[in-house]
């Protein structure tokens, strides 16, 4: 009888047996702390509040190849191409960037090379609590590849930077990319991330992105999670904002990835910051889409605004957990959070958990959550004008997502997302 070693054991062994020559001392320490955290706790179970609605264990049973190289990627085609998007194109193969990309004022480098720079120590891994987040800990302990995007002081990047992640799933792989974004003082960058998967074996991506928005800087971050059904994505996104900075996040999870778990954590580490978090999930089949967000108001006069909308078809499941934490010093905070869901099937399930914790006394905060079906009156109105039921439903789903899709600042991205919604809705009801 052959017993297969558990994924957990494989990672423990991998860490102990790896070559560590490339790392700086601080990075070694960082990995060690993270490894201790992961080895102590292992993968999260549903007994943890943070994972109560999401059982990750079925997705970890594959016999994954843990350290895939980039070499096997050939004949690359790019279905994540976004029509009419005028952007600087960056392609990562299994998380790896081959050489530096230089745009005026913005440097994009392979993580390995960049980490030799001691200055990155004050940004990299600084704000993630690896004690609390096992997947982020695992990534920190064992990440291999990734990129650093660094915008110089006062640089306004003229075009979006489009990062296409290409993953090779011709065999089952578990891959741990890592991204660090630094927008220095008074800079502005727009980043659009999308995913391309080659092959149809199980793919597990455990990604960590850190984003540091310095004083008076602006980062617009678009996460387009459109991947085939063999994809399982755990995405930890840690953002830190300094005084007067602006951060906009757009997380759109559209079919067909089997599993998506997003953690988006904002530390508002200065005064007068502004943050907008827009999320849209459209899930069908047996998809599970889980969004966890935390917004930490630590200083006065900051504004955060969060709007997540979900449309669920078939047997799809979704989880939304949003937490706004207003510390005692964070007076004059404006913090808003809203999660709206439409269930278009009797079997679809959503668990929504909006939370507010306020320790300051002069704040404006609100949170709300709704789960419902399409407005029957609106459906009837459209039908009474000769619009067929399917078309009417599509119009209403588009209208429902409009609050989130119309916030997309890049027209080509907006059109791309709207088309994908229409296509999915048409597929869903043509069956």
């Amino acid at each position: 009888m052959i017993t297969t070693t558990s994924l957990y054991d494989q990672f423990i062994n991998l860490y102990r047996e790896r070559e560590i020559t490339q790392d700086n001392d601080w990075l070694k320490d960082l990995r060690e702390t993270a490894f201790e955290a992961f080895s102590g706790k292992g993968f999260p179970s549903t007994r943890l509040e943070d994972w109560r609605f999401t059982n990750v264990s079925p997705f970890l049973k594959e016999d994954f190849h843990l350290q895939p190289g980039a070499a096997s990627l050939h004949g690359l085609h790019n279905p994540a191409h976004i029509p009419l998007l005028d952007a600087y194109e960056v392609v990562l193969k299994n998380g790896m960037l081959n050489e530096d990309v230089a745009i005026r004022g913005v440097k994009i480098s392979p993580l390995r090379t960049a980490l030799k720079n001691e200055n990155l120590q004050s940004y990299f891994g600084r704000y993630i609590n690896t004690e609390k987040y096992p997947f982020a800990a695992l990534n920190t302990a064992l990440f291999e590849n990734g990129i650093v995007i660094e915008a110089d002081k006062n640089i306004i990047c003229d075009k979006p930077i489009h990062i296409t992640h290409v993953y090779n799933a011709e065999e089952a792989v578990f891959i741990q990319p890592r991204i660090l974004i630094i927008a220095h003082k008074s800079s502005k960058i727009q980043i659009v991330e999308s995913v391309v998967v080659i092959g149809n074996k199980p793919l597990f991506i455990n990604n960590v992105t850190e984003c540091c928005v310095a004083e008076n800087a602006q980062v617009d971050h678009y996460n387009l999670q459109i991947a085939p059904s063999n994809t399982h994505l755990v995405n930890f996104n840690q953002v830190v904002q300094q005084n007067n900075s602006l951060f906009n996040n757009y997380t759109y999870s559209l079919p067909d990835a089997a599993f998506v778990r997003n953690n988006l954590h904002l530390d508002l580490n200065g005064t007068n910051t502004e943050s907008h978090l827009y999320g849209l999930y459209l899930a069908g089949g047996n998809q599970l889409t889980d969004n966890h967000t935390v917004v930490n108001h630590m200083f006065p006069n900051c504004l955060s605004n969060e709007l997540y909308k979900g449309v669920l078809l078939d047997n799809a499941r979704a989880v939304f957990s949003g937490r706004i934490y207003v510390h005692q010093d964070a007076q004059k905070t404006n913090a808003f959070q809203q999660n709206n869901n439409i269930l278009l099937s009797n079997k679809a399930v959503v668990d929504s958990k909006p939370q507010l914790e306020i320790f300051a006394d002069d704040v404006k905060c609100s949170h709300g959550s709704t789960v419902g079906s399409l407005n029957k009156e609106a459906l009837f109105y459209l039908q009474s004008r000769g619009i067929g039921e399917t078309a009417a439903r599509n119009l209403l789903v588009k209208a429902f997502s409009f609050d989130v899709t119309n916030k997309i600042q890049i027209p080509a991205v907006r059109e791309y997302i709207e088309k994908l919604i229409t296509r999915k809705m048409a597929e869903a009801y043509d069956q």
Partner: protein, 253 residues
């Protein structure tokens, strides 16, 4: 054009239409009046196929076809139009996109090709002018931010665009000031022809000074209790509805 025979319907367990008979021919305008809760709007809902209304008896023929067999969208495609009492706001659906979709779905039903963008635009301008509806429609959501009067005018504008055979105006006059009322009525009058027909549901005789009906029917307790020429509306205005109610209530006791 429309032939309603002994139409009965209920909502949940409440019988609301108790045997309606009505014949509407092309070129005619029929006014249906009656106190609150008499079943006026319910009649409109049953004819257009609103979900929670259940027909329990009778028949409705529309150009010889069994209207009640059609889905709401196919009733519209067959040429039936309802101007809603409370037009709904649908944020995120643009007026123009909505109209184009509706028009083209109706055309497709009749095996006609979709309208060219240019032709659609021309038609939109023409009809907007016809019904004096100058609200900017591009980049605006359906009825969103429209005043009560604008919403009602938008209904008449849609009517003009879709060019139905039979239009039901459900209390289109309620909540309109006199200017808006005149504009809406002018629109309807311009759209009247020998080929189409209107059923005007209203509370008030005032509207009927502008849209002059050929027939007036009084609906009470789910039945048409009196029919007459346009003068009947004046009589109702003068005497109220009580004189209508009495004989029915006594008769049913």
């Amino acid at each position: 054009m429309l032939s309603i025979k002994n139409l009965q319907a209920k909502v949940e367990d409440k019988q609301i239409l108790k045997g309606i008979n009505l014949q509407v021919n092309a070129g005619e305008v029929h006014a249906i009046m009656g106190p609150n809760g008499s079943g006026k709007s319910s009649l409109a809902s049953v004819l257009t196929g609103r979900e929670n209304f259940e027909v329990t008896g009778g028949e409705v023929l529309f150009d010889g076809k069994d209207l009640l067999e059609f889905s709401p969208e196919n009733r519209a495609r067959e040429g039936l139009f309802l101007a809603f009492q409370y037009p709904i706001e649908i944020p995120g659906v643009s007026n123009i996109n909505f109209l184009r979709t509706a028009l083209n779905e109706i055309r497709a039903y009749h095996n006609e090709p979709p309208l060219e963008a240019k032709e659609f635009l021309r038609l939109t301008r023409e009809k907007q002018k016809l019904v004096e509806f100058d609200a900017k429609l591009t980049n605006r959501s359906l009825n969103e931010g429209f005043s009560g009067g604008e919403k009602k005018r938008n209904e008449i504008f849609q009517l003009a665009m879709l060019n139905p055979k039979l239009s039901i105006l459900d209390e289109t006059d309620s909540g309109l000031d006199i200017d808006a009322l005149r504009i809406v009525s002018n629109g309807v009058n311009k759209l009247r022809s020998e080929k189409n027909a209107f059923i005007v549901i209203t509370h008030y005789q005032r509207l009927l000074e502008y849209i002059v009906p050929d027939f007036v029917h009084v609906l009470y307790d789910g039945r048409i209790v009196k029919s007459g020429a346009k003068e009947l509306a004046l009589e109702l205005e003068e005497k109220g509805y009580d004189w209508i109610k009495e004989p029915v209530t006594t008769a049913s006791v």
